[in-house]
Amino acid sequence: MAGISHVLNLAKEALVTHQLAIGVTGHNVANVNTPGYTRQTVSLGAQTASPVGIGFIGNGVQAERIEREYDRFMVQRLVDQESKMSNLEAQYQSMRVVETAFNEAPGMAVNELLSEFWGGWQEIANNPEFISSRETVVQQGLLINEQLHIMAAEIAQSRGDISANLHSAVLDVNTLTAQIAEINIHIASSESDIQKQNDLRDQRDQLTRELGQFVDLNYFEMSNGSYTIMLKDGHTLVENNESWSLAWNEKNLAWQTTNANGQMTLTNVGGEELGGKIGGWMEIHGELVEGQPENYLGRLDALANSLVREVNQLHTQGVGLVRFSDTLRSTTPAANTTRLQTTVDAATALEDTAAGTFIINGRDVGRIDGAVAVNGVAMGKTANAVQAINDSLSAVKARMTTLVAGDAVAAPTAASIPETIDFTINGVAISYTTQVGDDTLATFTANLVAEINTTIDAYNTATGPENIPKVTITAERGTGANGGALNSIVLKNDNPGDESQIVLAGIDTTSPDSYLGLTNDTYGADATHNSGDITLFNNNGPIEIDGGSTDVALSHLGLDGGIYGSGDIPGDGQIFYDYTDSANGVGGLAASMMGYAYSDELVTDGGSFDIWLYNSDKTLALPTPVQVPMDRVYTLNDVAHAINVAVENASGVTTPRWLTATVEENKLVLTPDPSHSFAFDGDTSNFLATAGLNTFFTGHSAATIGVNSQVADSLEYVAAGQVDDYGEIFAGDQTNALLITNIQNKEAIHFTGASDNTLDGHYNALVATIGIKGRTVERDFEYNTLITTQLQEMRDATSGVNLDEEMANLIKFQHAYTAAAKLITISDEMMVTLLNSLNR
C-alpha cells in the first residue's frame, strides 16, 4: 500500500542495496590484484509491486544476489592451458639443464674430443716409436672419459633434481587436493541456491588451477557444488570431502588408495601422459633414467659402449713397444652372475603370450609366440621366449641350452654283431662295437649312450697332454619326453644356458653308423635344437619378473609357485631371484663368462686367441703362437685352465709353466715365469676385449668408461703394432694404430638399442634429438605463453576487475545512494509536513 512509509521503506531499501553495491564494488577494487579473483556484481531487481487502486506500485529496489562474473568454459580452458603451459615449462627448464650437458655449440665437447682422439691415433701411426705420441692419445682418451663422466654426472644430477622436484610437486598436489576437498565441504554445506560462496569458489578455482599446473585434470561440479577432480586417466583425486594422494618413489608415480582391508595400495599412474609439471618432469626424467637404451642416457651409454668395444677389439689384437713380462690382470672382473633356469611348460606350449605380459627388470617383454612341443619339450616356444626376453634389452639375458636328438636308434640284427660304429662329437672320436644283446633296441641305445658318455669323460679327464677344449656334452636315452623320440640318442650341453654348438661328424649313411639315427651337422641352439630350458642371467643384481598379479602367466614359462627367491610369495605373479638363490638345482654362477658387459661379443664356437711366448732376450720361445681355444668356455676358470693347458702342451714344460693363468677376485691373472714374456695376437673369440686384457679403454658406459691403467701408466703398452706372422715385434709397426683410426669412419658400428651408425653419426643424432626437443619445447612454451596470455585476457574480459569501471560504478552507486538518501529527506519532509498539520 502506497504511503509515506512506503516511500521511506523504499528509500531505505535503496540505501541498503546501494550500500551493498558499493561494498561489492569496494570488494572488487580491493581484490583487483588478487589472483583468481572473479569480479562480483550485485544483481538488482525491483521489489514485488503492491496493488493499488490504479494498478501496481513498485516497492523499490532489492539486491537479489551477489554474482561472480564467471565463465566456466573459459576457466576450464584456462586450467587446461595452464596445465599444458606448466608441462612445457617443466620440460623447458629441465631441458635447459640437460642441454648444457650436451653442449656442443662452443666446442671442446665429445665431438671435438673424439676427432682429436682419432687424430691422436694417426699421430701414433706416424710415430709409433715415440712415447710422446702415445702420451697424447692416452691424454685424449682420458679427456673423452672425463667429458663422458661429466655428462653422465650432469645427467644423474638433473635426474636427481627432477626427482626432488617431483617429490615436492607430489607433496603440493597432496596438499592442494586436501584443501580442495576441505573447501568442497564448506561450499556444499553453506551454499543455497541463491547464496553462493563466491570467494570460496574463487579460492577453490584458484587451487584447482594450481593443481592443474601439476597434473592435467578432468573436473566437474556436482549438484551440491563440490568439485570432483580426476587425473586424465580417470584416477580420482578429489570427490566431495575426500582426497587421494600421489606418491613418488624415484621411479614411478603412484596413486594411493586404501583397500577393503585398510591396507595402503599403490597403483602406478603412468608418466608423461599425466600432463602438467609432473608429466613434464616425468618425461624428461624418463630420458635420464638408467637401464633404458632408448633414452638420452641410454644412447650416450651406447656411444661409450660402442667406442670402448670397437677400440678394444682392435687394441687387444695388437702389441705395444714391449712384451708383457710381469703379471697381467684383466681390468674387468667377471661378475658373479645370478642364474635362474626354468623349463618352459610343454602343456601350454601352443599358447601365445601377449606383449607386455612379463616385465623383466623394468623392461616389457614383447609377444612370445607359442609353438608345438616336440617330444615333450617346448623347443619352439623356448626359442621365441629367449628371443623376446633378449629383445627387451633389459639387464637380464636369456639363453637356451643346445640339444640334439636323433631319430630312434635302429637295433642291429643278432647275426650282424659285432660291427663297429665310428663317429665324432665335437672332435671326440666315439667308437662302439656292437655286442651280444644289442639286437634289443633299449639295450643297444643304453649301451651307445653309455659309450658316448664314457668316451667324452675319458677325453675330458685325459692327462699329459690334457685335452682342450673340454667337451661338455652328455648323452641321454630318448624317452619321448626329454626332447628325443623313444630310444633315440639325445645329446645335450651340460651347462645350463650353454648355446655352444654340438658338432657331429663321421657318421656314414650306411650301417652300422646309420643305426645311430643321428645326422652329421653342426648344431647350434635354435628353435629345433634346445632343451626347452630358458636360463636367465643377470650380471649385476637380482632377476625380477613381474608376470601380473597371479602366477598364470608365469606358469607358462614354468616359473609358477613362488618357490624361487627367498621370500618369494607364491601366486603373486612376481619373482625376485638373487645370486644366492637356486632353483632347479642351478644357483648363481661365479666368475661366469656371461658376467661381462660385453659377453654378447664372445665367440665360444671356434673362437680362440693366440699368445706369443718370448724368452727374456726377446727371442721367440716358441716359433708359433700358443693358440688358446675358447670353445665352450663357461666361466673364467675354464679360460684359465685352457690357457694353462695350451701353454703346457705347446712348451712341453710344466714346471715352471712359462705362463700361468689364475683367477683372482674374478679377474684373470696371467703370470709369466721370470724367463719368459708374452704378447697377444689373433683373437677371434673377443675374449681379450671382453675380459679387459691388453685393452685401451675400460668400462662399458658413459659413467664407467676409463683408460686402462696398464696403458695409462706404461705408455709402451699402447698397441700401435701387431705381432707379425713370424712373431716379430717392430717398434715402427703402425698396423694396429691405422686400423684403429678406421673406426672413426666405420659405418656399421652396432649400438645397443639403436640402429647401426658411425660413432659420430650416433652421437650427432643424439645431439640433434636433444637439440630439437629443447627447441620444440622452447617454441611451444613461447607460443603457449601467448595463448595463455590471450586466454587470461579473455577470462579477465569477463571476470577481471577494471578499476575505471569500478570507479564509475562506485560513482553510479554513490549517486543512487545520494538519491535514495534524498528520498528519505523528502519522505521525512513529507512526514513533518503531515505531522505539523495535525498539531495545528
Partner: protein
C-alpha cells in the same frame, strides 16, 4: 571486449620480456661471434656444423700426415739418389779397371769400391727423426747384434750347419718339427744305391716339402771324403774298390805311390755318371772323393783296396763297407726353432738325423742344451763381404689420407736395396778387382780342333813358347758358399799332352761338382759354376800352361768379370732409377693430395663459418631494430601506466 588493468600490465610485461629476450640473444651472438650458444638454438645447423668441425679437424690431421709422409718420401728419395751416385762411381771404377794398363794393380783399386760399398750401407741406414727409413716397420728397436737395418759382414737370415751323421740316422714322420710344423718322413731319394731314405738328399727333400709353412729351407753339402793317407803303390784287382756299388777296377790296375799317374782317379771319374762321385788328389797324393749331389757315398774295399786307396781306414782283415752321408744346412729369413722327438733312450731322433744332437758344441747355438729336444736358431754368423738386412721384410710405412685410404711412404730395404742388388753388385765388383770368386769364364783363345791330343799341335793355338802346353796339372778351386764358413774343394786337373785333348780337359773340368765346362761352337772354352750364388771358382798352380795357353787364367776371368760387373751395375742403376721415380711419383701424389685437402679445408671452413658464425651485419641491424622496438614499448607503457580514472576524480 573488456580490458582490465591486469590485462594491460601483463601485455606490457609479455611484450617487454620478448623484446628483452631478442636483445639478449642478439648481444650474445654479437659478442660471442657464434650463431648458436646452445644446441637447441638451431639443432639441425648444429649437427651439420658438428660434421664439418670433424671434417676440418680430420683434414688438418691428414695434412699433418702428408707433411710427415713428405719428409719420409723426400728422405728416401734423396738417400736412393746418393746410393745411385755410388753405383755410378763404381761403374766408372770398373771402366778404368778394364784397362790392361792396370792389369796388375786391380787389387789396389778394390778399396775404392769397398769405400763405395761402405758409403752405400751408410746411406741405406739413413735415419730421419730417429727412424731408419729403409727398415720397413722396424724403424727402430735394433739390438747389439743387429744395430742397424743394414750390417756389413754378417750373413743373411739365419743358418744352421748340419753335420754328417756317422751312422744310419732315419728321419721319420714328425721326428723333426720346424717352427711348429712337423716334417714328413724322408723317403728314398732315387739317387743313392744304399740307404736311399737316409741320405742328405732325402732329408732335404722332406724338409723342403714343408718350407712354405716353416719358412725354413734345406740345402745339401755333398759328401767329401779325403783319404787318411796318400795312395800307396800296388796292384788292384776287381772288387778292391767298389764305389756306390760300381766296381772301379773290374779288369784290375796298378797304382803307384800318390797315384801320380792318376790311374785311380781316372778310373773313379770314368764311372762318375754311374756313381755320382768325382775324385781328385790333394797335395799329398791322398784321394779326395766328392759326391755330385745329396746321395750317400758307399765305399766297399777289400783289405788290398783299403791299403792302397786308404779310403776306408786301416785294413780289418775282411772287406770293409762304409757309407758316408752328406750334410744338410737349414736357412731361414728369420730365427727358427727345431724340435725333435726324444726316444725312450733319450736320443733326439730328429736331431740325430741331421747331425745336430749334442747341444751347442755341435749346433753352435749358445742356448742349445743337449738332449732337450729343442734347438733355437738365433745366432747370426759372420760372413765376409755380405751385407745383412735386419729390417722388416714385409711391411712398409703408411700414412692415413682418408677414412680408410692409406698411402705407402716407404719401401723396405729388402725391396728397395737388397733385391735391387746394390750391395751384391758392389761386392762382386770388389771381389772381381781382388781376383776372387769368379763364376764364369770364356777362354780368350778360340780353338779350331778340340778333339785331337795336344801333342799333335792341331788345336789352332798360336805356337810360341808362351802358348806351349806341357805335361803337368792345374788346380780348379770351387768354393761352396752355402756352407758357413765357405768350403773350398780343390780339384787337380792333370794334363798329359799325349793323352789329353782340349775336349778331355773340358770333360775333366766338367766333372768337378759345381762346375760345367765345354767348348762352344766358336772354339771357346766356357766354364761356369752351376749356381753362381753358391759356387765360385778360381784357377791356380798351373804347371801345364793350359790355362795360360787357352786364356782361362784368373786375370782373364777378371777382365770378363769386370764386363759382367758393369752389366750388373747397369741393372742396379736401372732398378734404383725405378725406385727413385716411384718415390718421386709418391711425393707428387702427396703434393696433389695436400692441395686437394687445402681446397677442401677452405670450402668446409667457409660452410662451417656460414653455419656457426654470426652474420654481424644482420645481427647488428636486428639489434638496432629491437632497440627501437624496446624504446617504443617502454615509452607507451610508461604513458599508459600513468593514466587512471582515479587521477581525474
Amino acid at each position: 571486449m573488456r580490458t582490465t588493468l591486469n590485462t594491460l600490465f601483463s601485455q606490457m610485461n609479455t611484450n617487454l620480456q620478448r623484446i628483452n629476450k631478442d636483445i639478449s640473444s642478439l648481444t650474445n651472438q654479437i659478442s660471442s661471434g657464434q650463431q648458436m650458444s646452445k644446441i637447441s638454438d638451431n639443432p639441425l645447423n648444429m649437427v651439420s656444423s658438428l660434421l664439418m668441425r670433424t671434417k676440418v679437424a680430420e683434414l688438418a690431421q691428414f695434412q699433418s700426415n702428408i707433411q710427415y709422409g713428405d719428409t719420409m718420401v723426400t728422405a728416401a728419395e734423396n738417400a736412393l739418389r746418393q746410393i745411385k751416385e755410388q753405383v755410378a762411381d763404381a761403374k766408372v771404377i770398373a771402366l778404368e779397371a778394364q784397362s790392361p794398363v792396370v792389369e796388375n794393380d786391380r787389387d789396389l783399386i778394390a778399396p775404392k769400391v769397398a769405400n763405395l760399398l761402405d758409403q752405400a750401407v751408410t746411406l741405406a741406414n739413413t735415419q730421419i727423426a730417429g727412424k731408419y727409413i729403409f727398415g720397413g716397420l722396424r724403424t727402430s728397436g735394433y739390438t747389439d747384434i743387429e744395430p742397424k737395418p743394414f750390417i756389413s759382414e754378417l750373413v743373411d737370415g739365419y743358418r744352421l750347419n748340419g753335420t754328417a751323421p756317422t751312422a744310419a740316422a732315419p728321419l721319420g714322420l714328425n721326428d723333426l718339427t720346424i717352427n711348429g710344423i712337423g716334417v714328413p718322413a724322408a723317403l728314398n731319394d732315387g739317387l743313392s744305391n744304399i740307404d736311399p731314405a737316409l741320405s742328405a738328399a732325402a732329408k732335404a727333400t722332406a724338409i723342403n716339402s714343408v718350407a712354405d709353412q716353416t719358412g725354413v729351407t734345406a740345402t745339401i753339402t755333398p759328401v767329401t771324403l779325403t783319404a787318411t793317407a796318400p795312395v800307396t803303390a800296388g796292384p788292384l784287382v776287381s772288387g778292391d774298390l767298389i764305389i756306390n756299388g760300381i766296381d772301379i777296377f773290374p779288369a784290375g790296375a796298378t797304382a803307384i805311390a800318390g797315384d801320380a799317374d792318376n790311374v785311380i782317379i781316372d778310373a773313379i771319374n770314368a764311372q762318375q755318371a754311374s756313381t755320382g762321385v768325382y775324385a781328385t788328389h790333394d797335395a799329398t797324393g791322398a784321394l779326395v772323393l766328392k759326391v755330385d749331389d745329396g746321395r750317400n757315398l758307399q765305399i766297399q774295399t777289400s783289405d788290398n783296396g783299403s791299403i792302397i786307396t786308404q779310403l776306408n781306414g786301416p785294413p780289418t782283415g775282411a772287406p770293409t763297407d762304409q757309407t758316408y752321408y752328406g750334410r744338410v744346412q737349414l736357412l731361414s729369413d728369420r730365427t727358427f726353432m727345431l724340435e725333435s722327438t726324444i726316444d725312450v733312450s733319450g736320443v733326439e731322433t730328429g736331431f740325430v738325423a741331421l747331425g745336430l744332437d749334442g747341444g751347442s758344441a755341435v749346433s753352435g747355438e749358445p742356448t742349445d742344451i743337449a738332449g732337450d729336444g729343442k734347438l733355437s736358431v738365433l745366432t747370426i754368423a759372420n760372413y765376409e763381404g755380405n751385407v745383412r738386412y735386419a729390417g722388416d721384410r714385409e711391411g712398409v710405412l703408411e700414412i692415413k689420407v682418408g677414412s680408410v685410404e692409406k698411402l705407402a711412404i716407404s719401401e723396405n730395404g729388402q725391396v728397395a736395396l737388397k733385391d735391387a742388388g746394390v750391395f751384391t753388385a758392389l761386392q762382386n765388383l770388389e771381389d772381381t778387382l781382388l781376383g776372387k770368386n769368379f763364376t764364369e769364364s770364356t777362354s780368350v783363345q778360340a780353338l779350331t780342333n778340340t778333339t785331337d791330343t795336344f801333342d799333335l799341335g792341331l788345336t789352332g793355338l798360336p805356337t810360341d813358347t808362351f802358348f806351349n802346353i806341357v805335361n803337368g796339372s792345374f788346380t780348379m778351386s770351387i768354393t761352396d758358399h752355402s756352407h758357413l764358413p765357405p768350403e773350398v774343394f780343390a780339384a787337380r786337373i792333370a794334363v798329359d799332352i799325349n793323352v789329353d785333348s782340349p775336349d778331355s780337359i773340358a770333360a775333366k773340368i766338367d766333372g768337378i761338382p759345381g762346375v760345367t765346362a765345354a767348348w762352344d761352337s766358336d772354339g771357346h772354352l766356357q766354364i761356369n759354376t752351376t749356381d753362381p750364388e753358391r759356387y765360385t771358382m778360381a784357377v791356380s798352380g798351373d804347371s801345364s800352361n793350359f790355362t795360360g795357353a787357352v786364356g782361362i787364367t784368373n786375370t782373364d776371368m777378371q777382365v770378363q768379370a769386370l764386363d759382367s760387373s758393369m752389366a750388373e751395375l747397369d741393372l742396379v742403376f736401372e732398378a734404383l732409377t725405378t725406385h727413385i721415380t716411384d718415390f718421386g711419383a709418391r711425393g707428387n701424389r702427396l703434393d696433389v693430395q695436400s692441395q686437394i685437402f687445402t681446397n677442401l679445408d677452405l670450402v668446409t671452413k667457409a660452410h662451417l663459418s656460414e653455419k656457426q658464425d654470426t652474420d654481424l651485419i644482420k645481427a647488428i641491424t636486428d639489434l638496432q631494430a629491437a632497440e627501437t622496438a624496446y624504446e617504443a614499448a617502454l615509452a607507451s607503457s610508461a604513458r599508459v601506466m600513468q593514466m587512471s580514472l582515479l587521477d581525474y576524480l
